[in-house]
């Protein structure tokens, strides 16, 4: 078995171990750890599009909301019928896995539908179109009465445990890093570096972009499902463009296309507001101030420890 698979197995085992001992951890820390895990999934999946493939997407929260809504709807509608009144832990776990996959696949389909038209555009235009799609998804949910309209969905069963969050975070990291390090996946980096050159050596840039988009949307959907079953209530307003920005900030601060950096940035940016909780009213002021200072002092990304590989040639 190659090493990445071992690492994934070890991570899932570690997740199970943490879940076993979750009774010993303070519930507050457990909550923070859950949010960190969800943010890691979001940031790492967005890193595939924004970092490795070099396409600037600002609509990640939209895909997250698709996953959150669909998986919550599955749990609410089908849950009681499938599970009965007193389900075993295994049945509940399998059912939750199914609900998450439904959410993830729905988000992937949304990613495909958004990706095909918008990936014709480049740079800032792509950014604004993904932002627009994210907002359209939000407003659409606001207008679907079956999904609670502007009030959102309430009473979602609390299926999200620390095991699921950590296991899916590990799976996301595994999938993305295996994908970009595979022979096929070198194409993502090629598209990032130079689209014309990539096309000239026979790669299909549009195809790569769409694959990146769909995979990234799938994991955003999973993260959304985990988020919904953790918060127990979701509203369309919670998935607006501010949420997308939050994820983009993690990717850029981590150093685009730097897996470890992005994970660390996701952890740091989740912890920062929590650590600043004692200074309640100044907390977000300090947070935003630190964001500016960090970016000015470490423009190459906070955790980009490698020296620049090669200076860009040219004038």
């Amino acid at each position: 078995m190659p090493k990445p698979h071992l690492a994934l197995l070890a991570a899932v085992a570690a997740a199970a171990l943490v879940a076993r001992g979750s009774g010993l951890i303070d519930p507050y820390y457990l909550d923070v750890l859950t949010i960190i895990g969800i943010n890691v999934i979001l940031a790492v999946s967005l890193n595939l599009v924004n970092g490795y493939t070099g396409q600037f997407s600002l609509g990640h929260a939209g895909f997250m909301s698709v996953g959150a809504y669909l998986s919550a709807a599955v749990s609410l509608q089908a849950g009681p019928a499938v599970l009965g009144s007193d389900p075993s832990a295994l049945a509940q776990g399998l059912f939750f896995l199914g609900a998450l996959l439904v959410g993830g696949l729905a988000a992937a389909v949304a990613g495909l539908l958004v990706g095909i038209p918008s990936l014709r555009l480049r740079g800032d235009y792509l950014a604004i179109v993904t932002l627009a799609f994210g907002e359209i998804i939000r407003v659409t949910f606001q207008n679907i009465d079956a999904l609670g309209g502007a009030l959102g969905l309430n009473g979602i069963p609390p299926y999200t445990t620390i095991f699921w969050v950590l296991a899916f975070a590990a799976l996301t990291v595994f999938t993305v890093s295996c994908l970009v390090n595979s022979t096929y996946g070198r194409g993502f980096l090629a598209v990032h570096d130079d689209e014309i050159a990539a096309a000239a050596v026979g790669l299909n840039p549009t195809r790569y972009k769409i694959v990146a988009f769909v995979v990234s949307a799938f994991f955003a959907g999973i993260a959304g499902g985990l988020y919904g079953h953790f918060r127990l209530t979701i509203t369309p307003g919670g998935f607006d463009f501010t949420k997308s920005i939050e994820i983009v900030v993690m990717v850029i601060l981590g150093g685009m296309g730097n897996m470890l950096g992005v994970i660390l940035a996701a952890i740091l940016l989740t912890l920062l507001p929590e650590v600043l909780r004692p200074v309640a009213e100044y907390r977000m002021i300090i947070y935003s101030f630190l964001l500016i200072v960090l970016m000015i002092l470490r423009p190459q990304g906070l955790f980009n420890l490698k020296l620049r590989r090669a200076k860009r040639a040219g004038p």
Partner: protein, 296 residues
Amino acid sequence: MSEFLQQTLNGLSLGAIYALIALGYTMVYGVLRFINFAHSDVFMVGAFLGYYLAKLVPAATVGGGLLVLAGSMIGCALLGIVIERLAYRPLRRGPTLNVLITAIGVSLLLEYSGQFGFGAAPRTFPVLFPQRDLHLGGLVISSTQVIVIVVAAGLLAALQVIVHRTRIGTAMRALSLNATAAQLVGINTDVVISFTFGLGSALAAAGGILYAMNYPSIDPLMGVMPGLKAFVAAVLGGIGNIPGAALGGLILGLVETFVAGSPWSTYKDAIAFGVLIVILLCRPAGLLGKFRVEKV
């Protein structure tokens, strides 16, 4: 028919405000090639400056209203210049994505400082100009709408003169065409960029006050949605293109007003973005933008 004219008028006054904000986005993009996310919060600060300045002048007079407008524009111009100097200039040589993040940081900083300083609760914006309704047949024209359209048109004309008839305006255009060549012919880019930020922020402040006159409730997060729409307007018209931003603003204002008056009013926000997507798919560089073929 009068219903149609009424909606057109409402749409034009909303569109004029979007156009004013969109100009700031588009000018900054023209010289620096990045999206200034903090612009929507400068708009908010403009409205709040108007709120506080209005206490110093007699209410509901033309002179007082213009004084407030001018004061707030000057205040925000200074704010814009300071933001550029402290947050964006240190990153001038870096990739634009980093500047984007600092812009987001500045935006959050202004929003949360606003919530801390001004309070998070919405406030009622005072009456700045004398109010009177004009009845023309079935058409009701409020003086606020007239003022919004007149002020916006005046500022657009002034901007056109500055950009095309003055030395600094010529320098701005030179910089947006080719920054290196502009430096070679002796243009001080720092000064021009500061000026651009000041100009854009002053227009945002005017937009903020006009918006607050139309929808007289202001809060520290009021800039988010209009800012986003204005940004959409700038892209719609072709970002970096000044007449394009004005055109995009007007189109967006009209579309939004007509949709709001139709049975699909709850989809108002989505349709504004839908229009953007359709236009970009047909014309990938916006309505008036020039599409550049990439050369190897």
